[in-house]
């Protein structure tokens, strides 16, 4: 079995004379090498679009994702209160079903001042609950806690809650939604970095990244 598997070149090199070696370099050997080379080239040409297709979602720029959507009338949010609002993701696609429904916490500070928090905990993305009495957001997964203004209070999160960019257009409260908020893809999808990141945490992160 092992004799059969030996590389032809190896066994010939030792036994054949220089003339024999020259004879081994036949036109067929050359054609085989040429054909294998062509296969490598065609394989590469074929692979590029396949890999591009596979990695397509990864190369989409953040700025392409998301848009402004209305989540309700500004007057429906009483001042000083924080309320859960459902909305349909502006980036939903065919077949998303109920996963296209998202939720956010809207805090009406006063006048046209709002804060719109993602429900995703800044630790690992679980949905945070608002407790009006203790003025805290609590996460059910690992116990992350945030204050009323989204700042980190305690637990494993290294920063405050993610915030959506918002504006009041006429009577409507409009937010910019797109990417699922994570530490890399924050809730507001524009180029402006998020406010409300704790300076200490930012320092720790960037030093790790560097």
């Amino acid at each position: 079995m092992s004799e059969l598997l030996k590389h032809p070149g190896e066994s010939q090199n030792n036994t054949l004379s220089p003339e024999g070696k020259a004879a081994a370099h036949t036109r067929r050997t050359f054609l085989l090498k040429l054909a294998v080379g062509l296969n490598v080239v065609v394989g590469a040409v074929l692979a590029v679009p396949l890999v591009g297709y596979l990695l397509g979602p990864a190369f989409k720029r953040d700025a392409d994702t998301g848009s402004w959507i209305t989540i309700g009338a500004a007057k429906d949010f009483p001042e000083g209160e924080t309320r859960l609002v459902d909305f349909i993701s502006p980036v939903k696609v065919l077949g998303d079903g109920q996963t296209a429904k998202l939720a956010c916490w809207v805090r009406h500070i006063s006048g046209e001042q709002f804060q719109v928090f993602a429900i995703n905990c800044a630790h690992l993305g679980c949905p945070v609950h608002w407790f009006a009495q203790s003025k805290l957001f609590l996460c059910p997964c690992h116990g992350g806690a945030y204050y009323e203004n989204g700042e980190r209070a305690s637990g494993p999160p290294e920063r405050g809650l993610f915030e959506y960019k918002y504006k009041v257009v006429g009577e409507s409260l409009v937010i910019h939604a797109g990417d699922m908020p994570t530490l890399a893809t924050q809730a507001s999808c524009g180029k402006k970095p998020l406010v409300n990141i704790e300076p200490a945490a930012v320092g720790a992160r960037s030093s790790w990244q560097a």
Binding site: L55, P57, A58, F59, K60, D62, T65, L84, D86, S89, V91, K92, V93, G95, D96, G97, Q98, T99, A100, K101, L102, A103, I119, N120, H123, L124, G125, C126, P127, H129, F131, Q133, S134, K135, L136, L138, C139, P140, C141, H142, G143, A145, Y147, A153, S154, G155, P156, E158, G178, D179, M180, T182, L183, A184, T185, A201, A204, R205, W208, Q209
Partner: protein, 509 residues
Amino acid sequence: MASLKQRGVEAGMKSYRWLEHRLGLIKPLTEAAAHPTPSSSASWWYVFGSAATVLLMLQVVTGILLALVYSPTANDAYGSLLILNHNIPLGWYLRAIHGWGSDFMIAIVLIHMTQVFLFGAYKFPRELTWIVGVGLLLLTLGMAFTGQVMRFDQDAYWGVGIGASIASRVPLIGAPLVHLVLGGPIIGGPTLSRFFTLHVFIIPGLLLAGVGVHVWMVLFHGVSEWPMPGRLVRKATYEREYKELTHKTGIPFVPDAAWKDAVFAVAILLSVMACAFYFGPIGPGGPPDPTIIQTAPKPDFAFLWIYAVLAFLPPPIETPLMLVAPVLGVAAMLLLPLFASQGERHWSRRPVAVLMVAVIAVALGAFTRLGTYTPWSPIMDAWTSDAVPPKYLHERTPLQRQGALVLQDKQCRDCHSLGGAGGLRGPALDSIATRMTEDQIIRQVLQGGGNMPAYGKALNPSETKALVSFLTTLRGDDLAPAINPAHSLTNTSDLQSLQPDLPKAGKRP
């Protein structure tokens, strides 16, 4: 009669020869099955590898049957699970077998790996068999995670969210990685399609190919002999010794050793069926609707320990640990046979190996146990559902009772227990006044610290006063209250009554 039988046998042999002449597989396979194996390896300890393969086959068969009904779109997946559970005859049983089969498979793979490690069977010349086996373990865990997403309920949705959040912590390529995992900007249709493709095509393909290579290497090198203390593995001599051993004491794998594998396979299949029948299918839980936030997401059993570890990592080193530790762990497993390919195989001569198994097993067990009751998580409804024990309200002033109301209303119970009921995130408050003075309690409540949020903005002065006056009554079984020793020293009037000759401004004696 005899001639009829003879003719029958001849006809059978003729068709066998016809088939084998064209197929050419039956003879080599029969010879491989009957390959000589050391008589010492015909042990009940050597049955786990074959049991894992049997479970893989069970998973393949039940998985294909489930795919007949399951609809892998985010829109319909949850509904098709309910149809499987309730409308398709025996659909619940198929789901149950597939779910319990996966739990059994992970357990058996881990036992198999532990046995191979403790028996030193990964040493020369079987290093690559171990390395491929580590790959098979990771693929099995990959099947478990993607399979948990197939059960597209609340836990699956938030589980994918946790996965994406971990991916987002990778430096530089975090955002593209999240998009790659999710197949888009949010968890949705493309996400489930991706995990379906992984669960049904990619990982099973790799798994079956890997098992093929793994089993081929077992046949190629033979089943490792039972380790003996003092019998060292040496690259120069091992293969000759093994050949002599199997030559002298070898028995054919089939049937002399394989009957134990067959018996164990039956036992394990019966166990899966019993669990499936008795406990039923696993889930689905609530619908995968992210606007329903009344949920405490939790991963499946095999990943509970990771879920628990993630609660305990300190924030500043969490990201590095989360990303680096798994790489180091896998690298250590892969490199193990290359660095320890020779020497002692018997566990009694490898105390470090035994200690490692013990420590890892205890750690995994402890974290899994913690993951089952998540003491770090606030209990979201404790403040409305758990009563204040009556004995803490007897003979209390109105202010103190008002404090008990504040304690409930401000959700302190979500993290602190009273009388054994309530959250476990913070310390139980039953004897808080024996550990903290009034001043310390006020400071802790208003400013927080040590993993407790500050309540300064959530409490007005009268609420604080009432709450603290209630908390100072909580002294366990009437233990002495905590006192501040410095307090009595700085109380100048007390000092003067004790030592009237001290000057009024009071230098410390």
